[in-house]
């Protein structure tokens, strides 16, 4: 279980607090722009040190660990693939960062590419793929990495509505059992795939609430955000 224990995030005048645990399953992170959704994720990923509090995975304290040492995979808004490496190499990085892949690793990469609908694309470079296919390749890397936490920071924002829905359904289907935090600015995304929702607004990240219950009876801050 991912626990944010009394987190206090400060950046100049900006301040954000978070104090809760996140269950396995998909949890959407919504809130106005500039509220600190991405900052919250980068603290969990280890890119930004909190001023106070701890990030825990089960019983181990992650605070201070390097990003690559955490049980966390992350998809960014862009630059999720290295343009000079093939799709197979990009995905293989999720297994072994030094790319010394064994035969069994290769089989796993092929398998995962099949699962995201990219069978036969292994030897292409990202530039030869469409935007939707690139998202699938990045997702494939999260799948092989087999880390229990996946942080998705609006990775599908540049896709059209149809493709985005498709990708979110793929996430729901393939990342089953992991703890997924999905930043989105579209409440419909949350309604579509999220089990729970974290609302980030006015300097605080509220504990996850059941999606249906939250939207049925939105609290004051969410009502202001939804307009």
């Amino acid at each position: 279980m991912l626990t944010l224990d009394g987190l206090d995030i400060r950046q100049g005048d900006f301040r954000l607090r978070a104090d809760f645990a996140v269950q396995a399953g998909i949890t959407a992170v919504i809130g106005p722009s500039g509220a600190g959704k991405s900052t919250l994720l980068s603290v969990i990923a280890g890119f930004f040190a909190p001023a106070g509090g701890r990030v825990l995975w089960d019983d181990s304290n992650l605070t201070g660990a390097a990003p690559g040492q955490r049980p966390v995979s992350m998809l960014f808004q862009d630059n999720n693939l290295f343009p000079h490496l093939t799709i197979a190499q990009n995905v293989g990085l999720g297994l072994r960062p030094d790319l010394r892949v064994r035969q069994t690793d290769k089989a796993r990469v092929t398998d995962v590419l099949g699962r995201v609908g990219l069978a036969g694309y292994a030897q292409r470079k990202p530039g030869a793929l469409s935007g939707g296919q690139q998202s699938r390749a990045a997702l494939a890397r999260v799948l092989v990495a087999d880390r229990p936490v996946a942080l998705l920071d609006e990775p599908f924002a540049a896709l059209g509505p149809g493709l985005r829905t498709e990708m979110l359904e793929l996430v729901r289907e393939q990342l089953h059992g992991r703890t997924v935090l999905l930043v989105t600015h579209d409440p419909d995304d949350a309604r579509l795939v999220a089990d729970q929702v974290i609302l980030v607004a006015e300097g605080i990240a509220l504990p996850p609430k059941d999606t249906a219950a939250l939207f049925a009876d939105p609290p004051e801050a969410l009502r202001r955000y939804l307009g």
């Binding site: 280890g46 990003p67 690559g68 630059n79 290295f82 000079h84 999720g94 960062p97």
Partner: protein
């Protein structure tokens, strides 16, 4: 990334530059400068001032013409303006001799008209050669300034019928000119090869040339050390001067466009500026090829041996320069910024003298001539390599650093799978520049080498000194081909098959 490679490189560069300085400082026991020494100081400073003044002054009309005229071959000409930077000095001087020398085209013409001929040796020759090298550089600096004026300003000025010169161009020049002037002044303070070939005698000896003569002819190490301290002081003063003005960036891209203007101006004036500058730059190059071709067929064996040594030195030096620059760029920070600028103000003759003083007690300097040359050339090329690599490294780390971090891509794996592939173009370009600079270098090698360890520029200089002009011309063409060829190969290697 680990910090130790960058720190190691910084330590090596500082040890070589400051250690050699310490060596000359300790050796220079007698701090009294004689009249000849003062004459050398005066000549060094006045020729550099004159060279910078003429280069920048002539660059103004040329850059202005290039900024506002569109014509066939303009792109090629702008590219060609970058060529003298990697052109071996000794080769260019051979070309200048063919045009302005005793039996050169200009004097033949003057003679035919019954006008007194001119001499390329001494003050005017040194300035002429410096203008040949630095007029293109100054033109590129100023062209960049012109093209940095937004097109909208010209449109606004045109609609107001305001004077473009006073409103837009003069303010730009006031910012750009001092930087260009200081850079060229610094370059001319430390251009040993020009003084070696065109200077000399009591009225045209630079401090660097005096160091060389004290070492090679008189073996007066105390005097050489004293002169090295003097040369260092001059450079340090100039560097402080450079620090206080904005120094332009000579590698700027995007010089291949023109700005649409409405103020007209005399097209024939612009045309004349471009034509004269082109002839001045291209004629010497053409004569190198023209006169070198016959000599290429009858090159003495020692030229081929020297060419091979030069190639090895140049490639080694390029590898060192690029490796060191990459390590420094990955380390970043203030210390690296200092280490990256320091060689610009260093004189390779001063550093060479210092190293000579440190080494000669234990080992014959001649045996170390080639390794020392490769290392010093690499250090001297460091600022240019760092200028190119620094921003590129920052860009890669910004775009792909977070992804690499979450994947745990560190150390060698990060170098191999992220940095080297993404940096291929800047790596290739800076390796090309470093290789060409080293290939054409005639500085420290002249202090260290004997006949068996001479590089191609040094052999060429000795052939010229022995008046074997055909062999010298052939060697010059070979050197030109090798320098430009090395640059082209490295630069091309960085571009071929590079993924966007």
């Amino acid at each position: 990334m680990h910090h130790w490679p960058g720190m190691t490189v910084a330590a090596i560069v500082l040890a070589v530059l400051l250690g050699s300085l310490l060596a000359v400082g300790l050796r220079a026991d007698n701090f009294a400068l004689g009249p000849a020494d003062w004459a050398a100081v005066r000549f060094t400073v006045t020729q550099a001032l004159a060279s910078a003044l003429v280069s920048v002054g002539l660059a103004i009309p040329v850059a202005r013409a290039l900024a506002r005229r569109r014509f066939i071959g303009r792109g090629l000409l702008v590219t060609l303006l970058g060529a003298p930077f990697i052109l071996p000095v000794i080769v260019a001087i051979l070309g200048l001799l063919a045009v302005f020398g005793r039996g050169g085209l200009v004097n033949v013409g003057l003679d035919a008209l019954g006008i007194e001929t001119v001499s390329i040796y001494g003050f005017s020759g040194v300035v002429l050669a410096h203008v040949f090298f630095n007029l293109p550089l100054a033109t590129r600096f100023l062209l960049q300034g012109w093209l940095a004026i937004p097109a909208e300003r010209f449109r606004l000025a045109a609609s107001l019928n305001a004077p473009v010169g006073r409103l837009l161009e003069w303010p730009m020049l006031r910012v750009t000119l001092p930087g260009a002037f200081v850079v060229i002044f610094l370059i001319c303070l430390t251009s040993f090869a020009v003084a070696l070939t065109l200077g000399g005698g009591p009225r045209a000896t630079t401090v660097e040339l005096a160091i060389y003569q004290a070492m090679r002819f008189d073996f007066d190490l105390g005097r050489a050390a004293l002169l090295a301290v003097v040369q260092f002081s001059i450079c340090a003063l100039a560097a402080v001067l450079a620090w206080s003005v904005t120094v332009p960036d000579g590698f700027g891209a995007g010089l291949d466009r023109t700005v649409t203007r409405w103020d007209g101006g005399h097209w024939w004036l612009d045309g004349a500026a471009i034509a004269l500058a082109s002839v001045f730059l291209l004629l010497p190059l053409a004569t190198i090829v023209w006169r070198g071709l016959p000599g290429l067929l009858v090159l003495p064996d020692m030229v081929w041996a020297a060419a091979w040594r030069s190639l090895v030195v140049a490639v080694t030096s390029a590898a060192l320069a690029v490796g060191m620059a990459l390590a420094l760029a990955l380390r970043g920070g203030r210390l690296v910024a200092v280490v990256g600028v320091l060689p610009l103000a260093a004189s390779s003759l001063v550093v060479g003298t210092g190293l000579f003083l440190i080494l000669y007690r234990w080992i014959s300097p001649a045996t170390l001539a080639l390794p020392v040359t490769a290392l010093l050339n690499a250090i001297m090329a460091l600022p240019f390599a760092l200028r190119v690599l620094g921003p590129a490294v920052t860009q890669v780390q910004t775009a792909f650093g977070p992804l690499a971090d979450t994947l745990g891509l560190q150390g060698w794996a990060r170098l191999r799978w992220l940095l080297l592939p993404r940096l291929r173009r800047p790596l290739g370009f800076s390796a090309g520049v470093a290789a060409a600079l080293s290939m054409g270098d005639l500085g420290v090698i002249a202090l260290f080498a004997d006949a068996d360890r001479a590089t191609l520029p040094l052999v060429m200089y000795r052939l010229m000194g022995a008046y074997r002009m055909e062999a010298a011309a052939g060697a010059g063409l070979l050197l030109l081909i090798l320098s430009l060829g090395l640059f082209w190969l490295f630069d091309r290697g960085g571009r071929v098959d590079a993924d966007a």
